[in-house]
Amino acid sequence: MNQPNIIFRESLKHAILMAGAVIVILPFYVMLSYSLKSPKEIETNTGGFFGDQAPMVDEYCVKLGNAVDECTEIPVVFNYTQAFKKAPLLRYLLNGVIVTASIFLFQVLISVPAAYALAKLRWWGRDVVFGLVLFCLLIPVHAIALPLYIMLAKVGLVNTYAALIIPWTISVFGIFLMRQFFMTVPDDLIDAARMDGMSELSIVWKVMLPTAVPALMAFAIFSVVAHWNDYFWPRVVITGNRDLFTPPLGLREFKGDADGSAWGPMMATATIIVTPLIVAFLLAQKKFIEGITLSGMK
């Protein structure tokens, strides 16, 4: 093949991929741009990406009887302060952190010892339990949300942190993944630990877990991304109690209440919710892609 031909092909590929990239980025662009602009600029689709940032008057604030001067703000400042003022966004973010962190903690506490027993110990029933794990891998938790909701309602746990966390404490995928990883750890390491008089439980946490840090990291990313972004389950078990809202629920409620003037603040809220994971992803792309596609390994 001659040189110009190669250059032409390469440019054509870039052109196609760039067109795709524009569509992929479009909503991120809109979100960020709207979070910076004034309501007027949003409505008329003017102001480019940043908007003019001309001071604007908050009508609602004036209606409350404040002086016009006090109610005049730059659109960016207005949008982002309103995001925190109109709804307890900080609380939502805190709830998101509490819920995702607790879920991951419980998943590790429950699945790592089981994975060790399945990978490294000989016992009657091991194959049956592993068969159970393989069967449970078939069940998406979202699909059984209804019976879980009924069970939680029966024991009076709807509208609690427990309801947000309990259904996710068992990760069969985590058991499966950690088992596969533990299988590769040499038996000598465990035998040596036993010679030193370590109990099986401390072998799990002090010997096995440190060897599994890469797998654990990948699993952590997988788990945190899934639960920070989850909307369905919180929507089912949290009804109306704002103190327990996770970030996506908070945003959804914001949308329900929003009128024309709240679009900027709403996009600011969306930006705040989406940013932590995107930034983490951009900083550690390899790890993230590994973690998220982990479900691809068999």
């Binding site: 991120f28 945003l251 679009w263």
Partner: protein, 319 residues
Amino acid sequence: MGFKHQKVALALSAPAIIMMFVILIIPILIALWLSFTSYSLGSPLIEWVGWENYEKIFTRSSYQKMLGATITYVLVVVPASVFLGLGAALLINSLRFGRDIYKTIYFLPVMAALLAMAIVWEFTLHPTIGMINDTLTIGCDSGFWYPLLTGAWLGIDPVTSWYGKSCSDGFPLWLGDRDYALWTICFIGIWQAFGFNMVLYLAGLTSVPRELNQAAEMDGARTAWNRFWLVTWPMLGPTTVFVVTITMIRSFQVFDTVEALTEGGPVKSTYVMMYAIFEKAIRQNLVGMGAAITVIFLLFVMVLTLSQRYLVERKVHYS
């Protein structure tokens, strides 16, 4: 020999075993049982209704619409996002420079909360102030875009084309239009899913040995197209089975976009199964009905996953 660690092993796996039963197995049995009743939360008695709930699902028009919308969604999103994922992976893989930047960009939607992005898409697709319709409208007065998009340059009468008609009668309401809503939801689904598939395909492509491509070229597979069908596509078999299954299972569970943007409407055109379970069982407290939908849903998903495992073990064995 024997089972030296019997007690300690059981103790270590006990929490996991108990939780698997309490959170995964028992709820399935409960759903199965409730699906034959007309139970609702708070009512003291449970009335056995036999197959009535299931009969309704297959005979009533609103549930038929539900099955139709769900299946349409899956049949659109899965092929499209798998094809786009594969296409992007192949293109990116053959680039000389700039691979990482595209990989990063295409993966962004996978990381972002779908609910948030759905709301942004709703804005972008807003009929009056949204960027999409705004941009499309600008093209109507353009001497370059109008003939291009209406197909006038091919000799087609501009007024009969979709674009030409929309220019005179207004562009669609997208999410508010019964003819477009499901397609718009599908579009957001594809937008979100294909980056994930791309990454899986990129991983799959690294396992295709270069020598195999060279050997195929020697044997007469001159064009890249021939080599793709001869070497790459069969080698990607296992990846494809996996990508298709996982995308299917995820598409079956579509909820966020529907709940936030259309609430199943207009006229039930986007009434997908997960939303139906949520609306019937949790909002309207028709638990029996919701349980029946849950059972059918589980059947779909389990048959899918089992056939994937079967395919991986039996059919897709090229190496």
